[in-house]
Every structure is written in C-alpha cells, then in structure tokens.
C-alpha cells in the first residue's frame, strides 16, 4: 500500500493555491509535477557538479560525466535493456521518434510500407509522413474501433512482406487505451518488420521490459515520468542503432573529422551530438528512483483504483460521455458533456483550481473519427487522490450548471 499523503509531501507544487483554491492537478498526461528529489538533483548539479561531459580531463568534467552515465545505467535497468549503449538521450519522445523516422528516410524505398494507427499523437504521425515523402514509402493506418481500441484484425490485413516498420503508441494520450503491443510486435516480426513503440504515456504507469517485449525502438520523455523537461530516451536494439544513419552532426558524435571524410563515434554517442541537457539527465535518475522506490506495479495498482473511482463518478453526471472505454485502460478519462464545449468546461473548472486539458490533444484523427471538436481530459498520477476527484467532479457539475 502506498502512503499517498507521504508521496504528496514530496511535491512542493501540490501545496500551492490556484485562483484561491487548492490546486487539483489532473493534467499529468501533458506533464507530471516533480518531487523534491528531482528538483534538488537538478539544482545540486549546477551548484556542485557542473561541467561539460565526456571531454575534459579535469575533476569536474569527470564527475559530470560519471553522473550523466549513471543515469544511462539507471534507465537501462529501469527498462531492462540488454546494453547501456542502447539508451540514447534525446530532447524527448518527439525527438526520439524523429531520430528514427529521419534515419529511415534513407533506409526505405518506393514500395516499402510503414504502419501507424488512427490513435497516434501527431508526434507519431508527422515524422512518418515526412519519412514517406522523402523515401517514397507508403503510410498505412490501423483503424480505431468505437470503444477506442485498435482494429487488430485489420492490422493483420495491412501487414505484408512490404511492411518495413510499425510505429504504435503503448498508451493513447487521448483515450487511455493500452494497446496490445506484445501482440502487435509479434505479428509485425512475423513479416520481418521493425517496431517502434511510443511509450510517452506508458513509462510512468506500467512496467516496461525491453528484453521481454522485443520492441526494436522504444521512446519516452522524462517530464511525463516526474523528471525534468527537455530530456527523453530513445531505446534501440544495438544492431539497428548501428545501422541507423546519424541524425545530427557536431561534437561528441564523431570519431575523426577531416575535410575529406568524417567517421562517426559508436553508440550511444553517435546520436548525441552537441552538449546535452546534462542537469536534466542527472536529475532524471532521481525521477526513476522515485518510481522504483514506490514500485511501478504499486503505482499501476493505485492508479487503476483511481481510474475506476473517477470513471464511476463522472458517469453520474447527466449527459456525460467518455471517449475510450477499452477494458485495458490507463488513468486517462476523455469526455464531453452533451451540448457543452470542452473549452468552456476547462475555463470554468480552472477558476476552481482544477487543471484539466481541453482540445484535440494533438490527436486530430481521433477527433475526426468521433466527429467532435475536442474533449476535456482528466489524466491522473500517483499523487492524485479520491478527494481531488470529488473536487473535480463538483467543479464540472458547477460548470455544467453555469453553462446550461
């Protein structure tokens, strides 16, 4: 059992007021708040450890490099990757996907196919469209069913020997659907396709294990995992990362530079050109330790209880419809109330200290599928409570009263 009060005390922002009310932060799908350990690690880095990594011979450079590389090992253990050099530090999930999609521009040809799905975030759509434009490959889309799950039968039909890559999110940021990625990976492998998983919404909620999962690439962001903004991870299998062309040129990613020919460094440095967000990477370790300290399975179990309670309670509001009713769902509730615009609801509950997100959540194809302009979205994290859900629901009821 997690002691939620104890956990909440670790997040200073949770005790601030917003518009005169206690903050109820239900926009965790966008970004999570940070515990003291992460905030301290970041400031301590600048106060005691700051130097550039990998290059210097002096004490601080060695210290900064050690701290930076410690996080790599921590991530390797967190996701059970085979090698630490399979962990590439990036700016975030979007950056991670772009590194792979950009590399595949020169690895794919006309006639090759990439499969994505209708529930992807724009970040897992647009890079592949760009990749197809440049390579001549074709983009195929797994359709969405009415309950917010993917049409896996249709996925089977889309797969062929032409399928070179399948890029799917682990959890939908809009609908909360946990996609059956084990099944998807297995099917894709059967035709020899590689698989990239966008794990932005998954890594802080459910256990991920690279060696069991057998995904070729897996991407996530630190800031959705109680860590700092501007840091992300690209996991890739060693041989595939070796094969993938370098993304950006610059310092750190080279072996030898001359005007005739430059040779590139090995993994992971090949994909880490320029001075990275060192402080962020160092603090990321504290975020992972926060999660492993609580136990990811305990977090998943607690959040499941919150989701169940919140779902039951919101459905008591007359005229409210939830989008995304998959059986296997993460702690996200997207909804609309009949006759009301989500934006109006979001504006009013904000005045009562409740932070929810409204709009298309960077998933316009989902909005088109359900023929709606947007939704209001509640997304929960481990520090949220049933009391907060009650406050949020009362605020929604009040908004409904004002708007009707």
């Amino acid at each position: 059992m997690l002691d939620i009060n104890q956990i909440r005390k670790q997040f200073p922002i949770l005790s601030r007021k917003v518009n005169g009310h206690e903050l109820v932060y239900f926009d965790n799908g966008a970004t999570t708040q940070k515990p003291n350990s992460v905030i301290t690690a970041e400031s301590n880095y600048y106060q005691n450890e700051n130097s550039n990594v990998h290059r210097g011979v002096h004490f601080l450079s060695g210290l900064a490099t050690d701290k930076f590389e410690e996080t790599r090992i921590t991530i390797q253990n967190f996701i059970n990757a085979k090698h630490s050099h399979e962990i590439i530090f990036t700016k975030g999930t979007t950056d991670s996907i772009n590194i792979v999609a950009s590399g595949y521009r020169s690895l794919l040809n006309k006639g090759d196919e990439i499969i994505i799905s209708e529930l992807e975030h724009h970040s897992n759509i647009v890079p592949w469209q760009m990749c197809c434009e440049q390579s001549g490959a074709t983009l195929k889309v797994i359709p969405l069913l009415d309950n917010g799950t993917l049409d896996i039968t249709e996925f089977g039909n889309l797969l062929s020997k032409n399928t070179k890559l399948v890029a799917i999110s682990h959890i939908s940021n809009t609908l909360g659907t946990i996609n059956p990625i084990e099944k998807i990976i297995k099917k894709a492998k059967a035709v020899g396709a590689k698989v990239l998983i966008d794990g932005a919404q998954a890594a802080s909620h459910i256990s991920i294990n690279m060696q069991n999962l057998d995904a070729d690439f897996y991407c996530f962001s630190a800031h959705k995992l109680y860590g700092p903004t501007g840091v992300g991870v690209l996991y890739g299998k060693e041989d595939l990362l070796n094969e993938l062309p370098a993304y950006q040129g610059g310092g750190e990613m080279i072996k030898e530079v001359s005007f005739k020919k430059t040779t590139y460094a090995g993994l992971p440095h090949k994909f880490e050109a320029g001075t990275p967000n060192i402080a962020g990477v160092v603090a990321f370790k504290a975020a992972i330790n926060f999660i492993t300290g609580l136990g990811i399975n305990n977090i998943a179990k607690y959040e499941e209880g919150l989701l169940q309670y919140a779902t039951e309670e919101v459905l008591k509001i007359e005229g409210l419809k939830i989008y995304g009713t998959a059986k296997n769902k993460s702690a996200i509730i997207s909804f609309n109330i009949k006759g009301l615009h989500p934006y109006d609801i979001g504006m009013i509950v904000d005045k009562m200290g409740v932070a929810i997100r409204t709009g298309h959540h960077c998933t316009q194809p989902i909005m088109d599928k359900f023929n709606i302009p947007g939704t209001a979205r509640i997304s929960l994290a481990v520090y949220n409570t049933k009391d907060e859900i009650d406050i949020c629901i009362n605020a929604i009821k009040k908004a409904k009263m004002m708007l009707s």
């Binding site: 302009p373 947007g374 708007l403």
Partner: protein
C-alpha cells in the same frame, strides 16, 4: 468621445459591477447566448478565425457606409467575448473601426483571464475585423 469609445466605456462600467470571476463568466455566457445568430451560409472555412481553441466564424457586410459584423462560436464563453467585440465594432464606419483603440480588453480584466493561446485568438479576431474595415474603406 467617439461612439466606439463610448460603448467601450459602458462595457468597462458594466464589468466594474462584478465582484468575482463567476459573475463575470455568467455575464459572458449570457452575452454569448444573446448574440444574434450568423446565417448558416456564412459559417464557411474562409470565415473561420485561426488561433482559437474553439471555432469562431466572422462575417462582415458593408451597407450604408457602415460595417455589420455577425459571428458565432461553438464555445459559449468565446461567443460571449465575440459578442462584446461585435457590440463595440459592428455598425460603425470603416475608418473608425480601423483606427479604434480597444482599451476595454485590459480594463475589464479579460486578457489576464485568457491564457496566451486564447489571447491569440482574440488578437486574430480583432485583426480580422480591422482588415475588413481597411478593405471596405478603400
């Protein structure tokens, strides 16, 4: 005092009566509900204003030396804000609209209640109204 300024002064006075956000929002909701409807045929893609989280359509007509604006939004509070803008700028002469200084937005505390993206929508709307005025003035 020009008509546009006079109307603005009245709006500022109206908003001074409110003690809290709830009364302000309720007033906006009422204004939104009361806004004269736009003709369905004017709810076109061309008349959509970019930069809003909700959809806003704006139509302008030049008759007897004045511009008549009609508009709609699918979000009621946005519609309320739109209603105020129409109240201020519709049925005015193009040159007055083009040169109008819209002080009321800051005065009634609307801008600080609108986040950056939403304020962008407001700016786009005003810009579009002024562009119509400039076009009709020529």
């Amino acid at each position: 005092m020009s008509t546009i300024q006079k109307i603005q002064a009245e709006i500022i006075e109206d908003f001074e009566l409110f003690d809290d956000w709830m009364q302000k929002y309720e007033y906006l909701i009422d204004l939104g509900k009361e806004l004269a409807p736009i003709k369905e045929k004017y709810k076109t893609k061309d008349n959509l204003i970019k930069g809003c989280q909700s959809r806003v359509w704006l139509h302008a007509e030049h008759t007897q030396g004045k511009i008549i604006f009609t508009a709609d939004s699918d979000a009621i509070m946005t519609k309320g804000i739109v209603a105020i803008l129409i109240n201020v700028l519709s049925n005015q002469e193009p040159k007055d609209i083009a040169t109008a200084k819209l002080d009321f937005i800051n005065e009634i505390g609307l801008k600080e209640q609108l986040s950056a993206t939403r304020a962008n929508g407001l700016v786009s709307m005003i810009k579009k109204m002024k562009l119509y005025a400039i076009a009709f003035n020529n």
